[in-house]
Symmetry: C2
């Protein structure tokens, strides 16, 4: 299975691409820049969706659905937004095809040209705020806490499976509030949800921070983010939560009547995570043997494989295996018993190892005699013999251990690859090697741009609750009150 | 709330539209023909999705995701399919916008014209079968049982919320099989799932049948369907399951190696239900007082409303109400306790009645004294006083009764509006009044077309296991072996 598989050291980008394709997660489609998410990959995405969806609902949000299309003129209504988003977009200009006169197939019908072109949503602030104008009249209609699960399109020139594709899947929250404080609180609440999800479900430590002005969402007052460090030393922005102030309310004229009978513009937030999280998840833990998945997001948490020569051995093993499967399922653990006779055990071992199944149980004739099971952990690749008695408790415990171990391993990696740097030469050298580089910055967009130009590094985040510390900007030497995190990024 | 609301008798189409909008289910968007599904409507759709998704998974299907875009040339590959689908489509011709030179906003960048236009999927057979070519090599790869939840676009000229919109949400299953028999079995299995769902969850009786050639899916050998009768006497096709034979396998060259080492084309099915089901659900049960929802799909199954004058009364009632809510929730019943002080009880009664909440519990000071609750059923509008003791069992029982009652009521309606007709004059008269009309047809497309032209009625289904009966075609008088169902349809 893994024979044509690059190692991380040989070629990290190739390793990632091989992994995504050979582990049956996704592949490129016939449409440039668009991916097909295969069933195994989609099953992980469904777990991500279900978990986040519950977190959103538990905090009072409802789902809704808005059109795929946005009238072109909507983009021009918010000045900063149009600069950021109305560029590389899929544009619908016609609404009909007809048979070609020469019989060669179908052609666009020139008579069916739209009066105003429609843009496939790259993000939905404009169409949603245009709708909110009718939904919001008084303070009784607030807060409005809505989320949408949807596909969006940004016409990227250089694409990579999950990390950057023309079409991707995501959720986008769009909330409206009576006061600035409430909207700011919402922005933070969502950031906490994203960080919790990344750390507790994806086992991926993240830094919570705020973006510098240059890295802000087009149309936001403040963009908060969670940033993770990948194994190649590059940063990955895993989720963003935007405080939009009254920008969109003003652009789309959304006002509400206060309790005191005054008309005021509402305050807004928007926030999203996408199938990009799949890329983060894959890169955070996987190794040269294939995918490594945290148990909480693994579609198959435990696989049981029978080892036998004769059919009567299989029969006895199957009876035991099914019994174990059922006790595990009763505990809410997802188990696959793979008794296919078309593949050998060794092939199956490789297959599930490559696909990142956290625990593998193997039962052979000797195990049947001894009342034992061989248990292999995907994270450490360790094998151990356990008694069959009470195996479900051991499995449950091991899954928890694996979840925790993956998090700790990723955390150690980040700590080993976080650096404090005080001079420009040191900075350039360090940034080249990768990692999070904590350095002083004078706070100007000009300096930020120069640093990016010279090193390709960007300010990933100004950490929340950042300790204040007097220092000098690594580039300009001007005074600075805090360190910010620089890195090269996905 | 319901003051501007038409009755069914006054104007059925207006009644439907008013209901959808005033019950906060959906509304028209700024984009022609596209709807916004509002949180309350979307919550119903989520229940539909979750139930069907589990049914698909329990029968071995997995979800995946394929691109939104289909290259134009793909449509020309299957002859019948191109006739049916490559017509009223949204066509993407460009991939970039730029600032207008006169500063008036953004315009399409003529330099960013696609070499080949992309069509927004109206259905995904072509892109999926193009992908399956690489996924299927041998009999070991079969059956391939995949479903997709997605948005699709068909550029309809006359749209109605949920029933016919340019963009709609749906699931589309696409399966590949080694033999014709297996594919036919799959087509039937899915039809049974759809019928089960319609009858047991939506409380909507359906006829399972097969379509006449004229009504077949473009590219199918056979189209099976479930047909329901709405309260205005029109039929609504609620789901279709297509046996595609080897048409798409041949069009996209998808072959597999049999156990005997021969290369053969695979056999295919596709099947889908959409947000149209929301329209069916609304029309099947609702009345002149608003929405009526079957308990199994109601986002709120029980609402509890406190009735009080003084704050201390509210406090005592709330304690009791929350206790009842918790015992109901422990039984898996979704409950809302509405103690808002911004609205009066009467307003709330109307609101939840209009929104179709199956059961309303009201608790006032006298109930507190007597240990009672007033329980109102949405389906019958009956009110009754129950003792608070063991109220959760009574509520559970009532919800089951309502579910069953709605089904029986809809079934009686269908029986009362099904007719056997033997002459052309009788047929024309009957069809005009609505209902399912069982009549003999000579089996030719010509006659079917003439009947449609004369009466606007179509053959909705040839029922499965249809009793054979010799007769004469109502129009041509030619011999016929069975009756088929005619109706005017949505």
């Amino acid at each position: 299975m893994a024979k044509d598989f690059s190692t991380r050291d040989e070629n990290y980008a190739q390793w990632y691409n091989d992994l995504v394709i050979k582990a049956d997660l996704a592949e490129n489609s016939a449409v440039r820049g668009c991916m097909v998410i295969k069933p195994y990959g989609y099953a992980i995405w469904e777990k991500i969706q279900a978990t986040l969806d519950k977190m959103f609902k538990d905090t009072g949000h409802s789902n809704a659905y808005f059109p795929l299309f946005i009238p072109k003129s909507f983009f021009s209504k918010e000045a900063a937004h149009v600069e950021g988003f109305a560029k590389e977009c899929a544009v619908v200009t016609h609404y009909r095809l007809k048979n070609a006169e020469d019989g060669s197939g179908v052609v666009v019908d020139d008579d069916a040209k739209l009066e105003e072109e429609l843009i496939i949503r790259p993000t939905s602030e404009t169409i949603i705020w245009d709708t909110y104008r009718n939904w919001i009249q008084s303070y009784r209609d607030l807060p409005l806490l809505i989320n949408q699960w949807a596909n969006v399109v940004r016409w990227e020139m250089r694409t990579r499976l999950f990390l950057r594709t023309a079409e991707f899947l995501w959720q986008e929250g769009h909330t409206a509030h009576a006061t600035k404080e409430e909207a700011e609180e919402e922005t933070q609440k969502i950031l906490d949800i994203y960080a919790d999800f990344a750390e507790k479900w994806m086992a991926m430590p993240v830094i919570k921070g705020v973006k510098s002005p240059a890295e802000r969402f087009a149309g936001a007052i403040d963009t908060y983010c969670i940033e993770a460090l990948m194994q190649d030393g590059k940063a990955l922005q895993a989720g963003t939560s935007h405080f939009l102030g009254q920008n969109f309310a003003k652009a789309f004229d959304v006002k509400y009547l206060t309790k005191e009978n005054k008309l005021e513009y509402v305050w807004a937030t928007s926030w999203g995570v996408s199938t990009r999280l799949m890329g983060a998840l894959i890169m955070a833990h996987s190794d040269d043997n294939g995918l490594v998945l945290p148990p909480k997001l693994a579609p198959i948490q435990v696989v049981i494989i029978p080892i036998y020569r004769k059919p009567e051995q299989l029969e006895a093993i199957s009876e035991k295996a099914v019994a174990i499967m059922n006790t595990l399922k009763a505990k809410g653990i997802s188990v696959k018993y793979d008794d296919r006779d078309t593949q050998k055990p060794g092939w199956k071992f490789n297959e599930y190892e490559f696909k990142g199944v956290p625990l593998r149980l193997a039962i052979g004739p000797r195990d049947m005699e001894n009342g034992t099971v061989e248990v292999a952990r995907r994270d450490t690749l360790e094998k151990e013999i356990y008694s069959m008695t009470d195996i479900e408790t051991k499995v449950e415990h091991l899954l928890e251990q694996i979840q925790e171990n993956l998090y700790q391993k990723a955390l150690s990696f980040r700590e080993d690859n976080s650096f404090r740097v005080d001079t420009w030469d040191e900075f350039k050298e360090r940034i080249e090697k990768g990692g999070f580089v904590y350095a002083h910055w004078d706070g100007t967009e000009e300096t930020e741009a120069k640093i990016k130009e010279a090193t390709k590094a960007t300010i990933r985040a100004i950490p929340l609750n950042n300790p204040l510390e007097n220092g000098k900007c690594i580039l300009s030497g001007n005074p600075s009150k805090q360190r910010v995190i620089f890195a090269k990024a996905y």
